[in-house]
Amino acid sequence: MKEILLQIDGKQVKATEGMTVLEAAQSVDIFIPTLCHHEKLEPYGGCRLCIVEVEVNGWTKLVVSCVYPVEENIIVRTRSEKVDRMRKMILELLLAHAPNSLQLQAFAKEYGADKDRFEKEASFCIHCGLCVRYCAEVKKKHAIGFVNSGARREISFIPEIAAKECNDCKECFELCPTSYLQAVFVLTKALAFP
């Protein structure tokens, strides 16, 4: 694997070709906030919280670090006024759905996000897809998926599969960044009212 040198927050970082900026940062303990990232899963790029500033040949752009591949000599800034503004708004949008999530609250404090900025629509789910992807990619069961699109999108267990598989697994429950009970509820609903 080809070695790639880049700079993250003023630090020279050695990475290998094919790594993402997020992975390169994590390898030298530079923290970038994430919600939908999981090391066992394919990069997803859904929550957009890991957005960073990248300077390529003098051009600065905002990119999502969990899917942006490392490139030779790029300069990465994990915090900037604009990056923070993006993260603050993303958190505020999510807090309308899951105001009690401890993880969201911790990030909100860091970025000055107001949990009451938007009217509450407590659906708990923030669509990070961790449960869906874990079940598909790691467990290879596809017992839970997304249904519908856009603002109506939600997670749903597939009753036929869930009835057979979920009782002995439930590994996805702990991945949920908003509430363990959310997944329990959705599973129960699917099994009780298929």
Binding site: G46, R48, L93, H97, I126, G150, R152
Partner: protein, 547 residues
């Protein structure tokens, strides 16, 4: 029909088809585009057929059921050749009179010809009607002359000569160079130079390379691609095969809508016929070049027209845009270099090869070359699909071709590009049709849907409508798009209903910045464009509803 095995055989066949056709024979070309179809052209066709039978004229009169002629406002439309007499708003009851008076009696029926609603002037022939007269047609001009189910009709009109020229007189590199020199820019929305995209796909490493026709056309008020593709599928197919040859691809995909059965039928027939004639498949025209095409249908969601979502859909996955920073021309379908262009872009290719880049670049503005199909809708007298050279002013489009605003109303704004486009006020009416000029003003051409808004239009309500649409048509994967659009739509609903609060406009701008910057794909990135352009030019309407 036996396969065509050389360029010479293709020309022989063309000659043969033409020799069997009498250009002076009467032919009634009936538009069967979406508009005319909806207005009941089927009944007109059966009435005419019956009448022809009754009068024993089956050998003297042909009926050609064609693709869209463009003048949807006046459908059902028919053109009688060779005189090119154009009849509009034809009903089945008119059939007997058309046959007896015009076909047999050579007399024009006054009440069926075009009357200018503004001047009262009448026009008998298609080429005299302002709607047609003020256009420059190179693509849609085929439509009245071609039965989309007949490959012979396309061949009779010079079809596949561009492909033959490319395969036998040019190297793939020369084809690519010609398209680059022509500065053909993508007609699907971005206006990205097609030649450069082709080159990237050609040079990218990959065992297989794919080419795709994006025929999704999901934006409201846009129906240009369907007019071309349904009306003349071979034109698009010829462009695609030429592109595949230049790029080095042997597999193409046509991705289109599941809800247009007529389009599907015409594409299926075109592919079967082209294969039968040796224009598609193995060893095309005996050149040694192989290329196959598969048709895929969408799953009924707007975002499946986004290029990376479309490619996921072709792979059999959910139509969700991919979070990748590597271009699809390098890594697309099954991670192979994939070149995607929309219907109209491909349709431009045969003429560029036939007539050359020099001819092509003589049409249009400095940076936008050729013609553009525009669909006119909204508060306009002549709704329909038109083709004009780049550089035509919006005023010419709306007034000279479109006939202006109905009911004596004043024009307020022009909206381009559907739910991800923008609106500009009347004062910019003399702006030329040009990718860059209009983008600068905040109303990028998009795919070419032009919506005319009269003085009664409520800009807040219009913006709310678009965002409401996108709130459901976004795939919902990324937060800035899914949640940003949801909140923007909510705020706009409040303002629209008179419940706006101080600070709402600023909040809208803040969300729009985040959605525009941090979203995963072009849908989220441009979802707030209608909002931003209307705030730029019509901010007072928002303010008036808040105070």
């Amino acid at each position: 029909m036996s396969r065509i095995n050389s360029a010479a055989q293709l020309e022989e066949l063309r000659k043969d088809i033409l020799s069997k056709r009498d250009p002076d024979k009467t032919c009634i070309a009936i538009c069967s585009g979406m508009g005319c179809h909806g207005l009941g052209n089927d009944m007109v066709i059966s009435a005419l057929e019956e009448e022809i039978k009754k009068q024993d004229l089956e050998n003297k009169v042909d009926i050609r059921v064609t693709g869209c002629h463009g003048f949807c406002e006046k459908g059902p439309i028919l053109v009688i050749y060779p005189e090119e007499i154009c009849y509009m708003e034809v009903t089945p009851e008119d059939a007997a009179q058309i046959i007896s008076e015009t076909i047999l009696g050579k007399k024009v029926i006054d009440r069926l010809i075009y009357t200018d609603p503004n001047t009262g002037e009448k026009a008998v022939h298609q080429f005299e009607i302002p709607f047609y007269k003020n256009q420059t047609q190179y693509l849609i001009s085929y439509n009245p002359k071609v039965d989309p189910k007949s490959i012979d009709d396309y061949l009779a009109n010079g079809g596949y000569s561009g492909l033959s020229k490319a395969l036998f007189e040019m190297s793939p590199e020369q084809v690519l160079e010609e398209v680059k020199k022509a500065n053909l820019r993508g007609r699907g929305g971005g206006g990205f130079p097609a030649g450069r995209k082709w080159e990237t796909a050609r040079n990218a490493p990959g065992e297989e390379k794919y080419v795709i026709v994006n025929g999704h056309e999901g934006e409201q008020g846009a129906y240009m691609d369907r007019a071309i593709f349904t009306g003349n599928p071979h034109l698009v197919l010829e462009g695609l095969i030429i592109g595949a040859y230049a790029i080095g691809s042997h597999q193409g995909f046509i991705y289109t809508r599941h809800d247009t059965p007529q389009l599907k039928k015409n594409i299926d027939i075109a592919l079967a016929k082209a294969t039968e004639y040796g224009l598609l498949g193995e060893n095309i025209l005996g050149s040694g070049f192989n290329f196959n095409v598969e048709v895929h249908f969408d799953v009924g969601i707007f975002v499946s027209g986004e290029s990376s979502a479309l490619m996921s859909s072709i792979e059999g996955k959910n139509p969700e845009p991919r979070p990748k920073y590597i271009r699809t021309s390098v890594r697309g379908v099954w991670d192979m270099p994939t070149n995607l262009n929309n219907v109209e872009t491909w349709a431009n290719v045969p003429q560029i090869i036939n007539k050359g880049a020099e001819w092509y670049t003589s049409i249009g503005t400095e940076k936008s070359k050729g013609t553009k199909l525009i669909s006119l809708s909204g508060n306009i007298v002549n709704t329909g699909v038109v083709e004009v050279p780049f550089g035509t002013t919006l005023r010419e489009l709306v007034y000279d071709i479109g006939g202006g605003v109905p009911n004596g109303k004043k024009l307020k704004a022009i909206h381009f590009g559907g739910p991800m486009g923008g609106s500009i006020p009347e004062e910019f009416l003399d702006t030329p049709l040009d990718f860059d000029e209009l983008a600068k003003l905040g109303a990028p051409i998009g795919a070419g849907g032009l919506l005319v808004l009269d003085e009664d239009t409520n800009m807040v309500e219009k913006t709310r409508f678009f965002l409401d649409f996108l709130a459901n048509e976004s795939c919902g994967k990324c937060v800035p798009c899914r949640e940003g659009i949801r909140q923007m739509a909510k705020i706009l609903t409040n303002i629209s209903e008179g419940n706006g609060k101080e600070g709402d406009i600023e909040l809208l701008e803040e969300i729009a910045e985040v959605a525009g910057t941090a979203s995963l794909c072009a849908l989220g990135k441009t979802a707030s464009d209608p909002l931003l352009s209307s705030l730029r030019y019509f901010r007072d309407e928002y303010e008036a509803r808040i105070k």
